[in-house]
Assembly symmetry: none
């Protein structure tokens, strides 16, 4: 569910895109040292380049899988720097379901616990690996991948790096079964019946 | 002074350049007019720039959805030209199931029949449109999309353009349910039970 | 001569450049899924991604060569997607005179008739090919090329793809002989006399 | 219609562009400091990075226009550095005929004499300028341009910079009239008769 | 027709491609899902995408500042993925001296201890910040920066992300005073005397 | 599993990489011919593309090293053209102290006098060369370099080209010793004492 903050950001980005097509800025090198976001003009000092939104993040263990991003939306001065990060927290049996990042590869550094990771290339070959603490795994750009903490006792924590200030995320289950694509099309696509599609859809829709 | 390690790296990179898929190094402008594939050196004439693999394609109607590509694999001189094409043929009720192209947007030109098209953006918003002959639709880069010919009498044909010589395709049903990702992970991801996952998997696996 | 529509576009582009220099953004990946043009906010739905300007195009045969584009000017949401298309219609003996596209290669798909195509590389080598229906030909980026329907009975139609949202077109005859470059310079450049230059100029200027 | 808020944002963006030069196109990088050409491995020292082919160039005045390049073909270590240079020498009434560079803009610095320069944009507008010593003129990427030393007594010399290691050159007269494009097609393209085309062709072909 | 010179260039470029470091051609998107390093062909499985060189890294505290990289040299499959990582370990009063990365910005995530960080932009403005655990700081691309653990009791550890598979490092003290630039030039550059330069040089040279 | 076709393609691509013109980095494009700066709208003619700020520059010899730029700040229409120039003037014993350009390589053309040039790569190897009139030297992107006119009688003049409209400059002495980095950190970085750091700082600070 989109939070109030999400809507504020969405509104900001909509206005942003509306007037000046600013998104066209792309992800290449910029022609200045950095790009000062508009509401930071009065304080172009070290604070501008500091993101504090991760403070204390390792002190709390979420009850389900949780991703916390430091990308352009949360940390606007990343615009034009072609890099961002995220913290991934997996409670026991926590799963980051199959998804893609349309604008970057992901480099995942496991700093706590164990993690099963996997991705599928465009020839439909699955690559799976069981990571231990200290391992780094790369998910190539644009490919479907997932991470799963199969352990029943120890949580897992990873820090991910992306080669874009806004890698974006396409969650496969929600994108396909949670957005209103018709039951008939999905049944045909997954070569199953409408009842099965409806069952999956029901499970993915948040209860009121 | 270059250390032993440096020389090892230099050697590695030299071998690397010699053997690996380096032609694939990127999709930017090239530094020559075009790149001659190695087995074409004896005939660098107009034939090199001509792809004949689509001849007669409109004369046969496939019984299921069929895509025919003119991309770098089929038409090697496209390397470095940042463009490719495909013909999409939909019999009645033919479906191109949800998929993404990791390396390019798609611009679809409907030249015969009607077509329902849709894509989902990274905020999980679904965009659907019913196209008629002559309409052009753009599927933004990296997003999940599908096309469906709902008509029961008239086939549909589209010509698609891509801004990459090798856009790549990730088919969601096959990638997720046809590549060996474990039943338990998929059940968790789609918030359903293992039996449902197994049922979908069975439908997607080709019968012997 | 610039039409009213041209001036509207020029004005639009001037304002565009004036306010944010954003046209400079280039043709790389964007940092959002897509860029919403400013006047489209009230209808960010499937219509935004649909271009209907080609409807009925195959029903009329123009009396001279005609190109109809679906590029950023006509279809603004292409901004940042690095792809565009055009329909080329050739009546019998119709010619698309020598020209270049400064910002993209062109991939031409012949869907009706026959077509002679040619381009010249930077070593001044001419590549000519006679295409039949279904053939695809690539004109490498930035090189001078032409297409000619030599047939005296059957028109030709092609659909072209470009790896840029705004490939641009430089028509050689008009650029060189229709823009006011002095007769003396042109005579010197083409190693001919001023009378010949003036004769060509006169032919290219539209009669009142 | 733009709302008040839109104008506020537009104003903001104008300031933004002024203050931070909003993030325009960038130059792609190589993944090493430089690329050593294969036959230079035994002498990776300062000589590798030095091009001596221009020595003494200013001591001789050619009798016709002459361009001397320092680009990737002559100076291989430029590979991956995205920059090259050329010296242009114009005797009195010397002309560099209309041409384009498919892979870069050109920045021309006039260091001796006077020079008339001109280019035509994709709307067929001609821009002409008379340069004096010390002036710098930019020919935008991919557009047709020429330079002419109209002076009858003083030669002109210019140094040009290109934002590519291999900008390439397409000479319009030679490309169009010197490469075998058929007389009929050229007559049609230039809206003249075959005799005129043949006359121009004869002038451009070097005599045996 | 290709001249002898053309063939020489073609031959040169062919050899060039064979031997030189062309893998390093750039950091753009690749045209395949990933690039398999040559010596890994027999085992294209999950191991190829896993870097184990960081295992146990947090168990040992180095006595001086130490950086451990996971970039293209150590983890070759990163080639073409435009991302890399590093672990920075600072004992008490440990310093990463002023340096630049020629090919990427750096995003530093402090996971243990405190850290003073600073960089200087191209207008010679210094930005300094004192980070606490959980803070993320961005060093814009190509600018001189440093990190210092001023604490006398607690070590500091950071994980850095880079938007290039091979960001590169230019250490200012070693580059300037440790590579043989003449004493006179350095004295002039730093507006000091030769004795001071020699003193600094002596301190930077490792004792035998 | 890779099919026979896959292996054929792999083999083809391997050969391809070995033989073909390996098509390295390119230059990104803008989506218009050029970008008109906002305050130039009333005069979009040849003047817009002309920079006159260098007129008369060769008539005066500065008493200390002086760089005069024609980059995006001075010549705004360069925005998006990926190229800029500068004139470097060295009186006898004039020095351009060690510096880097974060956004471009530099190609230096010596047009008067002699010049010692040097740069240091990321393996800390120094490359030095003594240039004579007519020599061109390339300083690879992002590396520290300097130029020095050792001659005691003849000044030197060079014209430099950059593959970016705004290459930027980071002067090492000023950046490190002239921006307020603490004495203690600098002493530690340069492995010297605080007194030496303060002495250098004092020399670099302009006297009131």
């Amino acid at each position: 569910m989109a939070s109030l903050k999400d809507f504020q950001l969405m509104f900001f980005l909509a206005v942003f895109a509306t007037v000046a097509w600013l998104a066209t800025a792309g992800d290449p090198d910029i022609l200045t040292d950095f790009v000062v976001p508009p509401n930071s003009l009065n304080s172009t000092d070290g604070n501008l380049f500091t993101f504090t939104g991760m403070r204390g993040i390792f002190e709390n263990l979420p009850s389900t899988f949780k991703v916390t991003k430091a990308a352009m939306a949360e940390f606007p001065v990343l615009n034009g720097q072609s890099v961002s990060m995220a913290v991934l927290q997996f409670p026991t049996e926590g799963l980051n379901p199959p998804h893609t990042h349309p604008r970057s590869a992901e480099l995942l550094f496991l700093i706590e616990g164990c993690l099963e990771v996997g991705f599928v290339d465009t020839t439909n070959k699955l690559f799976v690996q069981n990571l231990q603490v200290g391992d780094i795994f790369v998910f190539p750009k644009g490919l479907v991948h997932y991470q799963y903490n199969a352990d029943t006792k120890i949580p897992a924590i990873a820090i991910s790096a992306f080669g874009s200030a806004n890698a974006g995320t396409v969650s496969v289950p929600l994108t396909v079964f949670g957005t209103g694509i018709s039951d008939g099309i999905l049944a045909k696509a997954f070569k199953t019946d409408v009842a099965t599609v409806q069952k999956i859809k029901a499970g993915l829709v948040p209860k009121p």
